[in-house]
């Protein structure tokens, strides 16, 4: 019976750490990745708490679809801004600094 409680508090601590990471990371794509990690661990927490239906929806939405949508949104915004350039700047490693 203690296995449930240890898994419960372990998953709670991991969810807390991942949620803090989402707020603290100063990089949009990195924050989306931390959001995906939080969804994964929250899926585990839902399973431990005995709610497999919520765990299904959390795995599909929180761990997979939502970070994918955020990444697509970030990519579309930056693709509009970057471009081959008004300043004739070559697309190269210099202006990729914010993305990688």
């Amino acid at each position: 019976m203690t296995g449930f409680w240890v898994m419960d508090y372990l998953c709670l601590a991991l969810v807390l750490a991942a949620a803090l990471m989402v707020v603290r990371i100063r990089n949009l794509a990195g924050a989306a990745m931390a959001l995906s990690a939080m969804g994964t661990v929250l899926t585990l927490l839902f399973v431990v708490l005995g709610a497999p239906d919520d765990a299904h929806s959390e795995a599909v939405v929180g761990a997979i679809a939502l970070p994918a949508l955020y990444l697509i949104a970030i990519g579309k915004v930056r693709a509009d801004v970057r471009g081959p350039g008004e300043q004739g700047k070559r697309r190269g490693p210099d202006d990729m600094d914010a993305r990688r």
């Binding site: 990745m33 899926t43 399973v47």
Partner: protein, 86 residues
């Protein structure tokens, strides 16, 4: 036997904490994605052993979802980084 499954589930889950260190520190987004793939694999293992511990076979489907589709973000980021999304 169930106590053994519980111990294995807790051990595999606690490795996510070490992967999250790299997720927090990683200088590039690619490092964070590598750490995220590791965390997803370890979460899948922990989920499987927890399902065997709790003796509920319906928990296993969540593990299949996590194992098969958690790499979608990786593929989207790779395509975005290589040639753009459009």
């Amino acid at each position: 036997m169930t106590a053994l499954y519980a111990v294995v589930a807790i051990a595999e889950t606690s490795l996510i904490a070490l992967a999250m260190v790299r997720l927090a520190l990683g200088p590039t987004v690619s490092d964070r994605i590598v750490a995220l793939n590791t965390a997803a694999a370890q979460a899948t293992l922990g989920l499987l052993f927890f399902a065997a511990f709790a003796d509920r076979s319906i928990y296993l489907d969540v593990g299949i979802w996590l194992a098969s589709f958690s790499y979608l973000g990786t593929l989207i980021w790779a395509r975005l980084l290589e040639r753009g999304l459009l």
